[in-house]
Structures are given as structure tokens and as C-alpha cells.
């Protein structure tokens, strides 16, 4: 097979949507609506997640929702705040009705301190939501076996974490992310923990399909400039992945040749 991996011909397809940008974003933690809108605009992101609990579904002029809809952004409602499968399924159904999208970022974290995802409840909810016609993108630990179970459950992608959400610590789970990416038949979106453009670039170089970044943009000194930096980093990382990274050099020590028998045999 001859590969044609030019970035211009490298769309990311998830379920029924095709994305040019591989940087997904969030709406939390920005200090005002204008900054959020400007930052998301320069990020060139085409998919943005927002917590169902934070938007007022009744108000058309909701602070978060209204400008995103105006920008034509694809919305990815998330179930942040749900503590179990039952609550998450309910939130997803509510979001589908209110926002007219069957996409959902499945987040279930019973622990309010570190907001760590519950793998058991997430798998249960993912199965139920996928069966109900949702495009499910579950936020999970970087657990390769769990990710395979979620794939079998019908998820459209998996979103393993790089580090605790909001920690900006980077890809602490890198060894497991590599395994997940190697094994997956669905896109792997690295979510949570990405604190700097270099982290995002590293995830993309490893072969992640996309990254989701929120805190690192929203609380940067200049969120708009930082968003642009992330956009460039994601592009550079993807291009490097497609170009084929040169490996690190290992110096083999040929102390006792293993193949000498081929000459004499």
C-alpha cells in the first residue's frame, strides 16, 4: 500500500462528522465570554465541549451557548457532575433533546476532589447510550483494556487522560496511552492534563487522533495567544507523526555474532 499522508488530505472522521482541526476545546474557566469566543476562534477548533450543568438550556442567549452556536461550532455536551451511569444517561438524554445533538462526552466522576473517572459506571453508561443511538466519547483513565471494552460497546472514540484533569501536568500516562493508540480501531483523543503546547504536540506525535485542551488555554496569561500556540502545536505534532519520526539511536554491541553460522553452514 502506498501511503499518501499529506496533512491537507488528513481529515479526522468520527461517526458522522469530519474535522480538519485535531484540537478539541472546552468552554470552562475562561474569565469572560469575549475571551472564550476569541480564544476558540483562533484555536480553529471545530468541536467544543460544554458541561450540561453550566448551560441554561432554556435561554437562547446563554453566555456559553449563544456565541458557540453563532460561530457554527460543533457542540459536544458533557455529563460532568454525573456520579453514576444513571445520572449520566439522564444528562445525555436531556442534552440531546435541548441541543439537538446525539454526541456526548461521557464523564462520570463520583470523586469531587480529583474528578477521576469511574471505569465501571462509564462502561455501563457507554453501552446503554451507544445502544440508544448516541455518539459516545467516554472520558476514561488511560486503561488499555477498558478502552477495548468501550470500543466493543460501540463508542465512537475514547478519551483517555494524560494526567488528572486540570492539573496541566502533561502526559503522565504516556506508556499506557501508547498501548491504547496501538490497539485502538477507533480514534483516541487525549484528554485532561495537557498543560502546554509541547504536551499536545507529543500526544499528536505519538499518533493520537486529536487532543482536548481547556484549562491550559483558559487560565493562560493570554488565553487567545495560547490558543493559537496550541493550534500550531497540534498541527506540528500531527505532521511529525505523518512524516515518520526518526528513532533514537541504539548502539548494538556485536560481541558474539549470532549470524556467523550462516557463512559457514
Amino acid at each position: 500500500m502506498l501511503f499518501n499522508k499529506m496533512p491537507s488530505n488528513d481529515p479526522l472522521v468520527i461517526a458522522d462528522k469530519t474535522f480538519t482541526s485535531r484540537l478539541f476545546t472546552g468552554t470552562g474557566k475562561f474569565n469572560d465570554q469575549q475571551t472564550m469566543v476569541a480564544a476558540l476562534q483562533v484555536s480553529q477548533s471545530e468541536l467544543v465541549t460544554m458541561a450540561l450543568k453550566r448551560v441554561d438550556l432554556q435561554r437562547k442567549d446563554d453566555d456559553i451557548l449563544a456565541p458557540l452556536i453563532k460561530q457554527g461550532m460543533n457542540l459536544l455536551p458533557n455529563t460532568s457532575g454525573a456520579r453514576n451511569a444513571r445520572e449520566a444517561i439522564f444528562a445525555a438524554q436531556l442534552a440531546r433533546e435541548a441541543l439537538q445533538t446525539n454526541w456526548v462526552k461521557l464523564e462520570i466522576h463520583p470523586d469531587p476532589k480529583y474528578l477521576l473517572p469511574d471505569p465501571i459506571e462509564t462502561l455501563k453508561a457507554a453501552e446503554a447510550l451507544a445502544n440508544d443511538g448516541f455518539v459516545v466519547l467516554p472520558y476514561v483513565h488511560a486503561d488499555p483494556v477498558l478502552c477495548k471494552h468501550l470500543e466493543a460497546a460501540g463508542c465512537a472514540a475514547v478519551m483517555p487522560l494524560g494526567a488528572p484533569i486540570g492539573s496541566n501536568k502533561g502526559l503522565k500516562t504516556i506508556d499506557f496511552l501508547e498501548i491504547i493508540i496501538e490497539q485502538a480501531n477507533i480514534p483516541v483523543i487525549v484528554d485532561a492534563g495537557i498543560g502546554s503546547p509541547s504536551h499536545a504536540a507529543l500526544a499528536m506525535e505519538m499518533g493520537a487522533a486529536a487532543v482536548l485542551v481547556n484549562t491550559a488555554m483558559a487560565v493562560a496569561g493570554d488565553p487567545v495567544a495560547m490558543s493559537e500556540a496550541f493550534a500550531k502545536a497540534v498541527q506540528a505534532g500531527r505532521q511529525a507523526y505523518l512524516a515518520g519520526l526518526a528513532g533514537q539511536v541504539n548502539h548494538a554491541v556485536a560481541s558474539s555474532p549470532l549470524t556467523a553460522f550462516l557463512q559457514v553452514g
Binding site: M1, L2, G244, G247, A252, L258, T259, L262, G265
Partner: protein, 372 residues
């Protein structure tokens, strides 16, 4: 989607061109990477990698020992029948060969099991020709309860079956199924598989998908090296393995490297693989996939096996007879499927392994683990 769909992504001629266009830089890159992809595999089996054989061997040995330790799993084939309803140009069992045909009855199976058990084996590979009528699922339902009494791990190398048939055999204690595509080139395949169920290329190609769906614990794949240009064919094996590992991720996999050898009905071999090329291929598979079982049979010579086993192989047969009934009754003269090159006894093989600093593993599985 099954592999017969997936294979459409790889055009035979493009694969060959791509392999032969690999250069030393591509090999360097593949050697320096931790996780290799199919493009790296192409580089490692390409002519450009030949000058790097020693480096490949060293890395392959290191990766193998890191994953498997200094151990070698032993198994033995038990030929149950040489009945076959296929005509294949290269095989001694082929229907048009006028050889004495036999299928072991239950008493003979028991005798074979006793003879093999005495040699120390706990892992057995059951082999038959491909005759749905004579050695189909009903036959296996009779012999498996006998064989299971003696052995901790049962592999079979028989005609491809349907998913529900595999489910039955798994229930009867089959742990592993080996099915070789022979060649992944459909045109060449048709030239060599002239008659019988085996002439259905896609049915054979999707066998591992059916096995995966049936929940088999281990499956084996490979091609018959020599039927086609070996580099391209072996690339397809790697692509097939990659596809299967991602899809049926709970299964184990094993790769074999049968090279065409002279046998009854002798034919000209299209692509002769030299010893150093087989070493290159074994090392390339190990570098590409540090976790997969790599197996080498007694088709290969004593000299070759002694040197190659430590380079990446993890499973070997020993003391093999390829004629049905050949263990209990050494005088039996039913014709064999192919000639054995390494005729050492299992004990001699184990001593050789030990002298090389490896431990022979006779039992590496237990039926209680699969609840069968």
C-alpha cells in the same frame, strides 16, 4: 468487516514495489524505534536490511528474552489422518496422490497418545488432511475427549470451519487453531488449489475472523513460503496479524515459517528462501511484534534450528512424525505429508536447548484456565 475486506487496502504489486524501494535509512529508522509499524516491517524484510542482519538478530534475541525469558515451549504434532478432498499442487496429502490413506480409530489415537506422553509432551498439535466427511467436527468430538486426558494444551491444524463448529471444538477442549493462508495472492492461490473446499480463497482468509468471534484462546497464521514472492506474502501475514490483534485483542497469536520442501508430487518452487532470509524474516517479526509466539518446526535442519532458536523463536516441535500412527507403530508406512529434516528425539532436543542456556517448557498451560 473481515480480513477479506481489509486486504483490499493492500494491492499485491504496490506492496512488492514498496518493499523493494526501502533503503538503509528506512532500516535504520525501524531498528531505532520502540514500536514498529507495517512500513518498518517492510523495511526489515527488504533487501536493504540484509547488511543489518546481525543487528536485527541481536535486538531480536534481546526482545525475545525480555518477554519470554530463556525458555522454549515444546510441542509435538499428532497426525490423525491423511484423508483429503483437496487437490493442492505442493502437498503430499493431495487427493490425486496415490498414497495409502488412513484415519486413526479411537484405539489407535489412544496408543499414539500413550507413546507421545512417554516422551514428556503436554502440548499437542492435531493435524489432519482436509476432508469434511472423514475428519470433520463429528470425528473431533470423538477423539478430543481421549486426547484431553493426556495433554494440557491442544492445538489443531485442520480444515477451516464455521464459527459454530469452532465453538463446539472449543467446548471440547481445543485451545489453539492454526490455519495458514498458504499465499495471500488470490491468483497464485487459485493456481495451487485446484479442487475442493480449499479453493475458496476468501473463506480461508476469513477463518481467523470466525475464530476470533468464536472466542478461541490462540490462533496461528502464516503462509507457505515459496508459493509466491516471499517478502510480499510475509508482509500480508504481518498485516493480517496486526488486524487480528486489534480486533480480537483477547486472543494469543502464533506465527510459523513453513518453507516449501520436496514432497510427493514435487513442484517447482517459485520463490526460494535462503537460510539467511529466513533468519531475517524471523527477526523482523520479533522486532515488529515483541509479544507474538514464533514457532519453528522440524521441517528445518538440525544445524539451522540449533542456531536460529535463540534468535527469536519461542516454540518448537521435536521428535515429529508426519504420518498417521507414526509414534506407536514406527513400522507404519502411510505416506508422510513432508520430509522431516531434524530427526532428533525430544530428549536430545531438550539437551541441546539446555546446553544453550534455555529451559525446555513441556507444560505451559492448563485446561482449568479455560474452564474446559
Amino acid at each position: 468487516m473481515s480480513f477479506s475486506e481489509q486486504i483490499k487496502n493492500y494491492q499485491w504489486d504496490d506492496v512488492g514495489l514498496s518493499i523493494y524501494s526501502k533503503n538503509a535509512n528506512d532500516v535504520h529508522r525501524a531498528l531505532s524505534k520502540v514500536r514498529l509499524d507495517l512500513e518498518d516491517f517492510k523495511a526489515l524484510i527488504s533487501p536493504a536490511a540484509e547488511p543489518f542482519l546481525e543487528q536485527m538478530a541481536q535486538k531480536s534475541q534481546q526482545l525475545t528474552q525480555q518477554r519470554f525469558g530463556k525458555t522454549m515451549q515444546f510441542y509435538i504434532p499428532l497426525y490423525l489422518s491423511n484423508m483429503c478432498s483437496n487437490i493442492c499442487t505442493y502437498c503430499g496429502f493431495s487427493m490425486h496422490n496415490a498414497i495409502r490413506r488412513t484415519t486413526l480409530d479411537m484405539e489407535q489415537v489412544e496408543q499414539e497418545c500413550l507413546a507421545i506422553k512417554k516422551m514428556g509432551f503436554a502440548h499437542i498439535l492435531l493435524v489432519t488432511g482436509e476432508s469434511e466427511r472423514k475428519v470433520g467436527v463429528e470425528y473431533f468430538k470423538q477423539v478430543l475427549p481421549i486426547i484431553k486426558k493426556y495433554f494440557a494444551h491442544i492445538s489443531i491444524e485442520v480444515q477451516p470451519l464455521d464459527q459454530h463448529e469452532y465453538e463446539v471444538l472449543i467446548d471440547y477442549g481445543v485451545d489453539a487453531v492454526l490455519v495458514y493462508q498458504e499465499t495471500y495472492n488470490p491468483v497464485t492461490y487459485a493456481q495451487h488449489h485446484l479442487k475442493g473446499k480449499k479453493s475458496d480463497f476468501n473463506y480461508r482468509l476469513d477463518t481467523h475472523d470466525r475464530l476470533g468471534k468464536a472466542g478461541i484462546h490462540k490462533m496461528g497464521l502464516g503462509c507457505l513460503i515459496g508459493l509466491e514472492e516471499w517478502r510480499s506474502d510475509c508482509f500480508y501475514v504481518a498485516a493480517h496479524l496486526n488486524y487480528l490483534e486489534k480486533k480480537y485483542w483477547q486472543s494469543h497469536y502464533t506465527i510459523s515459517f513453513p518453507r516449501l520442501r520436496p514432497c510427493e508430487g514435487g513442484m517447482e518452487i517459485k520463490s526460494v528462501m535462503e537460510d539467511k532470509q529466513l533468519v531475517q524474516l524471523i527477526c523482523a517479526f520479533r522486532l515488529f511484534n515483541p509479544e507474538v509466539e514464533l514457532s519453528l518446526s522440524t521441517r528445518e535442519s538440525e544445524h539451522f534450528r540449533d542456531h536460529v532458536l535463540p534468535l527469536g523463536i519461542t516454540s518448537v516441535s521435536a521428535g515429529s512424525s508426519t504420518q498417521p500412527g507414526g509414534y506407536a507403530e514406527t513400522s507404519l508406512k502411510a505416506l508422510e505429508q513432508f520430509e522431516i529434516s531434524d530427526e532428533r528425539s525430544p530428549a536430545e532436543m531438550a539437551n541441546m536447548i539446555k546446553a544453550k542456556g534455555y529451559e525446555a517448557v513441556w507444560k505451559g498451560w492448563d485446561h482449568s484456565l479455560t474452564g474446559k
